[in-house]
């Protein structure tokens, strides 16, 4: 028996937690169940859903060329996660070493992270323009004639977008790594130095294990975000040219909200959700080998 410290403590508590739970039930749990049900139907909102069994899933895996195509593209964007982390960790390491202007640099690096993807996408679209874009006018000035037209080139569009993505998230990731680096106990590093460890050995055997939980967190959340990449591609290229940059999320959006194939889009959503869960699960499995959490 628990004697309440307040009169009606439990009743107060239930009232306090009611709003998020109503939200959870109405906006998460029910939709999720509905999504599962919808994925077995053909449904355009206007006419009632029509049960089609596993048709949606069969199409997804066999006849729909775009599913594979956009998943491969999405996988390409995921390359930006480790690349961005490596760059951010390098910059954070430098920031951790310097004595002055640390706050200034951190502020500058972080600015893109507070800007909307839409505005940044418009900006970078202009930078990447083939004719009078900033990048190419600079390249021409450096003596490179006939530079490529970056995001209009099916071969270069994805790397270009990945680069922009790294540029965008650099500050955010750097701030996280810097905080982690600053919490590595100095005595530990000094002890390693006295033991004769060089700079790289200190990083490899002291710093990296110490910040591994942070690295793991950044990689998991970054991967989940990359798998659902949408805004950047939608604003900059609409998936073009020739679907070269289209992400899976973009395809879900098009199926659901442009063609109103709600049943099919639901099945697509489930496929992506399962991919997200599997990738996350894999990361957790692998984490046992390199993350030192205590």
């Amino acid at each position: 028996m628990v004697t309440p410290r307040f009169k009606g403590e439990a009743a107060w508590a239930y009232a306090f937690i009611a709003p998020p739970f109503v939200g959870f039930l109405v906006f998460a749990l029910l939709p999720m169940l509905a999504s599962f049900a919808l994925s077995f139907t053909r449904y355009d909102i206007l006419s009632p859903p029509e049960l089609v069994g596993l048709d949606n899933y069969r199409d997804l895996f066999t006849s729909d060329y775009f599913v594979g195509r956009t998943l491969v593209n999405t996988a390409f964007y995921m390359l930006g996660v480790p690349l961005g982390m490596a760059v951010a960790l390098a910059i954070a390491t430098l920031l951790d070493r310097i004595a002055r202007f640390r706050g200034f640099f951190r502020t500058v690096y972080f600015i893109p992270s507070v800007c909307s993807i839409v505005a940044l996408a418009l900006l970078w679209k202009l930078i990447y323009r083939g004719d009078y874009g900033l990048l190419n006018t600079l390249l021409v000035r450096l003596g490179i004639h006939d530079p490529p037209s970056w995001i209009a080139d099916p071969r270069l569009v994805k790397p270009s977008l990945v680069f922009m993505g790294i540029w965008t998230n650099l500050g955010y990731t750097t701030v996280i790594f810097l905080a982690a680096l600053q919490s590595v106990p100095r005595q530990l590093l000094e002890a390693a130095e006295l033991d004769g460890a060089g700079a790289w050995q200190r990083f490899r055997h002291v710093v990296f294990p110490a910040i591994s939980p942070t690295t793991f967190f950044v990689s998991v959340t970054g991967t989940i975000a990359a798998l659902q990449n949408f805004d950047q591609v939608y604003v900059m290229t609409r998936g073009g040219p020739a679907y070269a940059s289209a992400t899976y999320m973009l395809y879900v959006y098009v199926s659901g909200f442009q063609y109103f194939e709600m049943g099919y889009a639901s099945a697509m959503a489930w496929l992506l959700a399962i991919v997200v869960l599997v990738v996350t699960w894999l990361q957790f499995r692998l984490a046992k080998h390199w993350v030192f959490d205590d």
Binding site: W12, A13, F27, I117, L126, G256
Partner: protein, 274 residues
């Protein structure tokens, strides 16, 4: 000491170069946005316009109607953020400091929803909002957030956990009800956490593009992000107006960031908020 100082010079050089790489696109944006149409396509690119003008900003605010877009966005961002802060605080307090049957199980359920990919809810939510006539209103963008998201609740709970139980017990013995304990003791203490969460909430709501894209279709109801995205079509030939619009869309958050930088950095560094 001297050796150490010498060894940091390359670090400063690299960091300065990276800073330049970060800043350059913004300078390009600013420069372009101040140029009259005749100068925009000049090659080579001139960083300082010969005849700077604010005409592009005027156009963005009036013709593109970003003033309206800003207002619309605030209509969504403010209630969603502040409503969410309030509900998440109450719920976070209950989970952190009150005792009631089923507390841990309910909290675990709430945490589990954080793991669910948002994409699963997307389609049925749209269908549901369509059925109740909420499409092309701001309600789908306000209500779920204002009820307190799992993330916000979780954050507030973590914060309230850090308040010693004894403070709550002291309030109990002083005769405060749970509601009074919350309003008079706990909530005032939560200010740093609330500011942090509020800043990130405002940022997320202001920058949200996908939500309005799905739910808002009337041009006069569009948010600022939708409006600048749609300038691409109407003003594709006027990059200067596009850049002015983008700059206007960024400005409030950059200002907010510069003033509330501490909260951004702490929020990210301690909890990985985004």
């Amino acid at each position: 000491m001297t050796e150490r100082r010498r060894s940091t010079i390359p670090a400063y050089v690299v960091l300065a170069l990276v800073a330049l790489l970060v800043i350059l696109p913004f300078l390009f944006m600013l420069s372009t946005s101040l140029k009259p149409p005749s100068e925009v396509y000049e090659i080579p690119f001139r960083w300082i316009p010969r005849h700077p003008t604010l005409r592009n900003y005027g156009k963005a605010l009036t013709e593109v109607n970003l003033a309206r877009g800003t207002w619309n966005t605030l209509l969504i961002a403010l209630p969603a953020t502040f409503g969410g802060l309030l509900t998440a605080s109450f719920a976070g307090f209950a989970f952190a400091k009150l005792r009631f049957p089923g507390r841990d199980a309910l909290f675990a359920a709430l945490l589990a929803t954080m793991m669910l990919p948002g994409i699963l809810m997307l389609i049925p939510q749209f269908v549901m909002f369509a059925k109740i006539g909420w499409v092309d209103t701001y309600l789908p963008l306000i209500v779920p957030g204002a009820l307190g998201t799992a993330m916000a609740t979780f954050m507030m709970r973590q914060f309230f956990k850090s308040i010693p139980d004894e403070i709550i017990e002291a309030a109990t013995l002083d005769g405060a009800s749970p509601f009074q304990t919350f309003t008079r003791v706990v909530f005032p203490l939560a200010r740093p956490a609330l500011v942090t969460l509020g800043v990130f909430g405002l940022k997320a709501a202001w920058n949200d593009y996908f939500g309005p894209l799905v739910y808002i279709s009337s041009p006069e109801k569009m948010t600022i992000q939708q409006m600048i995205a749609s300038t691409q079509n109407a003003y594709g030939g006027e990059p200067a107006v596009l850049m002015a619009g983008s700059a206007l869309a960024m400005l409030p958050l950059v200002v907010l960031f510069l003033f509330a930088q501490r909260y951004f950095v702490e929020g990210i560094a301690t909890t990985g908020l985004k």
